[in-house]
Symmetry: C2
Subunit: 582 residues, 2 copies
């Protein structure tokens, strides 16, 4: 090894030792007869000192010529620093160098290798290998590593077996967003990359493996947002002979374990909330429970008092924002602008200030009596000093709008605390959703999700109201994982395919192997998949997943570092039996 | 959970307990008033007993109706067996059942779910989910799981960081066997699936991550042999600030750790052998060292004695096969046939028996004196009772032929012991190999391999003889892993590209990001990659890797279970901007 120690290792107790270090030049301070170099590696930074008096000319001059990011090897003696640096683990010592070798030079890097780099996002992505040298990016990759390890330890200890499912699988028309791979040996045919190993993990249960997990790359060719990547990592799990409570217990324990091991936080028992309740109270199946601010239906009070906007609306909903009764006209105008943006789509905003002195001030004073306002305030459980915000409109749109408004007000009032974690299980989702465009039902999760046992009989005559035996784990408003008890009965699976509009032949073509498997003793089973990239960013208290991926792609699906995707020789396309469209 | 215990868990100490089990019906024995069912899950088999006298009619009749592979739930009391079965962990008990639920029925499976199944390979692959129920297949997947875990534990403990490198990368013309993936968002352009994460792991070293590992899926679209799969798993590793001895030490320790943990075998220090020596002594860079039988050049004795075949040959090589001097005419004819097959390509075989009584018997007696034969015998270090086999021919062909003959004789004389493991590091490979078809040099490993330091100066004028700073780990004649110290100097990398016939522009187009990276302080680094599927089969003492892969593909690259690859809708191809060739 080109070192006896790493750059994060030496302490005062090593004083007097002859040591060898290798690493990158972080900083050179040249004071004429003295030169200090900070040498950096993955493990830390150590201060080197070169004294003109006590060092050979060669060594001293080499030190003077070192620039930022040069790779050097040094040998020297550990000595105690006169001025110690308590921000560094190695801050009590320095190494008095008597030998230096420049292992590799460096041009001036395109941006500074510091926590606060001067490089913009695009530049840092082009030189991602330099970006990774920055301690904050490196720390994110180390956190990811720790989460990988802790995850595997948990499942290994719980007797889950890790199985690698195939990456070259079969495309299904359901998955319009499959990446596909032309087969050279089977020309005119294509593999697909998995959006998830769903059917394979179910087949592993059919195969009797009982408890399966895998940290697995999945792929989705959809238009990318800032928090989506075309390839992403899933913690994929499945268990046999379980019901919903078993799954929720097992994977709740898993999350508790992660929080305890990585962040030393006890998240306690994770509450369970029904989908209908989540929608009613938070307007979302991904409620952020770090703050309360529940949605109230106030139409019972507002109705029939002559305010046409409310009288004509399907829905009148309110939230009470704590401590904001002192919001200015300008503040409220800003919020009004927000709710009128197309993505929210409200027509306007009504406010009701519950002043500190107990009086009310509202934008619709003339329509509502003081008693009305008091009733609204009471419905919203508002306290003195709170600001009640009211939206009206079409039922679904209004619920979505007030849910977004709730999140905005949470952010504005600093209730988004990245150090607090509020997980919740959401259960009893609808099984189907009507899609007017394709004029048929779609699965809310996927077609292998079991209905609740009590609902099975009414699948065909009450399709819209059938509940799924599914569960999502939501933390701080983000869906971290989701899964379900699966169908294990062939007839039920066929019924579901039928409701979804599959002909018998289509079902057979696409999922024949699964329907076949159901003929040979499929056990009751269920599972879950967690978004691992999302867990990484959550645990670091960040919103974007990009920095937690070593080599991410941009929103056009490009890796700008290696410049991919790229064009391919016609020869190679010929050999695969495909050509570009004209 | 639909069970209180697994089917492998109950012991005599559980006697009297009320328990619940779930699993598959392995066997039903119906003796009229008594029915026994063996119930099976991943963990084992437990005997259930149903007594007409002591059970309700319902339960008793349900038991009688159970067929093979039915999935059942039972509740009952643990009791001591009258006739114990010491082959089963649960063989001292049985469960006296008073409740049974058939969770799922099963048709008669297409083959028996037994160690020795009656199902052929094709049938078992089509119903792979049933094949996995067989204990021998299940055990292979469990061994793989254990190897995955033990591998990760080793590298985690040694401070390696696990990093996931991308799957959607860039195609290089060098890698004619890339699988490619059309990009929807960047029409006319393609991603490629990695044949290895080689450049990425080097960039991680440039990024300062110091020690990296990953268990990673890799892809190669080449014609498949029985021991090749289009997707395979690699243990991929890289370290900074190391020389060859550091790498060999670290990964030698890794192999020792695997053997100790998994098989409880001490493999000791792994010997290091030069490529030239391996070729000379074993005719192969993958020598099987479970047996000696070294190759001897005997031309110094055979030359000029009037035997034209030997006199005209570039090479005359011999091996001495222990204890086979009693081989019959027929035995030797069989071997002769073998060496004359096209894949070996020898013209014939000469033998020399060193009889037990010290006399010689040879097929070329009339050309060689007794002294000559004695000299040959001495060169080959033959003992009395040995059989010397001699091949002559063109140098390279003859070396390859005798190497194959050596392996055949090893197998014939039962020297292939699957319980013995003889690892060896092969080093000092040639860096380049001349390819007459493309009329240029190719890399023996890959273009990022560093030459030995002493050879760097003569790269251009003695190209053929430059040695690589590379190393392969070979165990029992199989290449288990290979790697090298990498080039970290931009100029040297450019020289190598030049020797390989890349124009500056080609080099820039394909590896510009790597050459760029070399400008900003790339550390000395090196690494290795192990074939994980191969390690699994080696540790199980098997030759084929297929059964160690949960869902393997056949030699046409097809998954016959899911019937993939498959045709794709024209709509989907349109959206990707490609079409099939006419």
């Amino acid at each position: 090894m080109l070192r006896s120690h790493t750059c994060g290792e030496l302490r005062l107790s090593d004083k007097g030792k002859k040591v060898q270090l290798s690493g990158w030049v972080q900083k050179v301070r040249d004071k004429g007869k003295l030169v200090w170099i900070d040498i950096r590696d993955r493990y830390g930074i150590t201060q080197l000192i070169f004294e003109e008096e006590n060092t050979s000319n060669d060594v001293f001059n080499t030190a003077k010529k070192c620039g930022r990011e040069f790779v050097i090897f040094v040998e020297g003696n550990v000595s105690e620093r006169s001025s110690k640096n308590d921000k560094l683990n190695t801050g009590e010592i320095e190494v008095l160098v008597d030998k230096i070798i420049v292992l590799n030079e460096s041009e001036v890097p395109p941006f500074t290798i510091e926590e606060d780099s001067d490089g913009g996002d695009d530049l840092r992505m082009k030189y991602r290998y330099l970006d990774i040298r920055r301690s904050n990016v490196k720390d994110k990759l180390l956190l990811r590593h720790k989460l990988l390890k802790t995850t595997r330890d948990f499942f290994n200890n719980a007797d889950f077996i890790e199985v690698e499912t195939p990456v070259l699988i079969k495309s299904t028309p359901e998955g319009a967003r499959d990446f596909i791979v032309p087969s050279r040996m089977n020309q005119g045919q294509f593999y697909a990359l998995p959006q998830s190993p769903q059917t394979f993990k179910q087949l592993l249960m059919v195969g009797g493996l009982d408890k399966y997990y895998q940290l697995v790359k999945c792929f989705r060719d959809e238009d990318l947002r800032s928090d989506r990547q075309p390839e992403f990592t899933q913690i994929d799990c499945e268990m046999s002979f379980v019901d919903r409570s078993d799954v929720i217990q097992t994977f709740g324990n898993f999350m508790s374990h992660l929080f305890k091991k990585i962040l030393n936080i006890d998240i306690g028992e994770i509450p369970i909330m029904k989908y209908d309740d989540a929608m009613k109270m938070y307007g979302s199946d991904k409620p952020d429970l770090r703050f309360d601010m529940k949605i109230c239906d106030i139409s019972s009070v507002t109705q029939g008092k002559g305010f046409k906007v409310f009288d004509d609306a399907e829905s009148v909903l309110a939230i009470s924002v704590p401590g904001c009764s002192n919001y200015s006209r300008k503040d409220i105008d800003e919020i009004t602008e927000y709710v009128k943006t197309p993505q929210i789509g409200s027509k306007g905003l009504v406010y009701l200030k519950v002043n500190e002195d107990g009086t009310f001030k509202s934008s619709v004073d003339k329509f509502y009596s003081s008693d009305d306002l008091k009733s609204i305030s009471k419905l919203c459980k508002a306290n003195q000093g709170d600001l009640i915000l009211i939206l009206a409109g079409e039922e679904n749109q209004n619920l979505k709008a007030i849910s977004e408004l709730r999140l905005l007000m949470g952010k504005k009032t600093n209730l988004f605390d990245n150090k607090i974690f509020k997980p919740v299980w959401i259960v009893d989702f609808p099984l189907f959703i009507w899609d007017s465009e394709s004029d048929r039902y779609h699965s809310v999760h996927h077609p292998f999700t079991s209905p609740l046992t009590d609902d099975i009989e009414s699948i065909k005559n009450d399709t819209r109201n059938i509940k799924a035996n599914a569960y999502d784990l939501v933390i701080n408003g983000v869906e971290i994982g989701g899964g379900s008890i699966r169908i294990h009965d062939r007839k039920l699976q066929e019924t579901i395919f039928e409701v979804l509009g599959f002909s018998k032949e289509e079902a057979k073509n696409q999922f024949g192997f699964l329907l076949d498997a159901f003929r040979f003793g499929t056990p009751p089973h269920g599972g879950i998949a967690f978004g691992f990239d999302r867990i990484c960013s959550l645990f670091a208290g960040e919103e974007s997943i990009k920095d937690f991926i070593a080599f991410p792609k941009n929103t056009s699906g490009r890796d700008v570092m290696i410049d991919s995707p790229s064009i391919i020789d016609n020869d190679q396309l010929d050999e695969l039996g495909i050509k570009l469209s004209d």
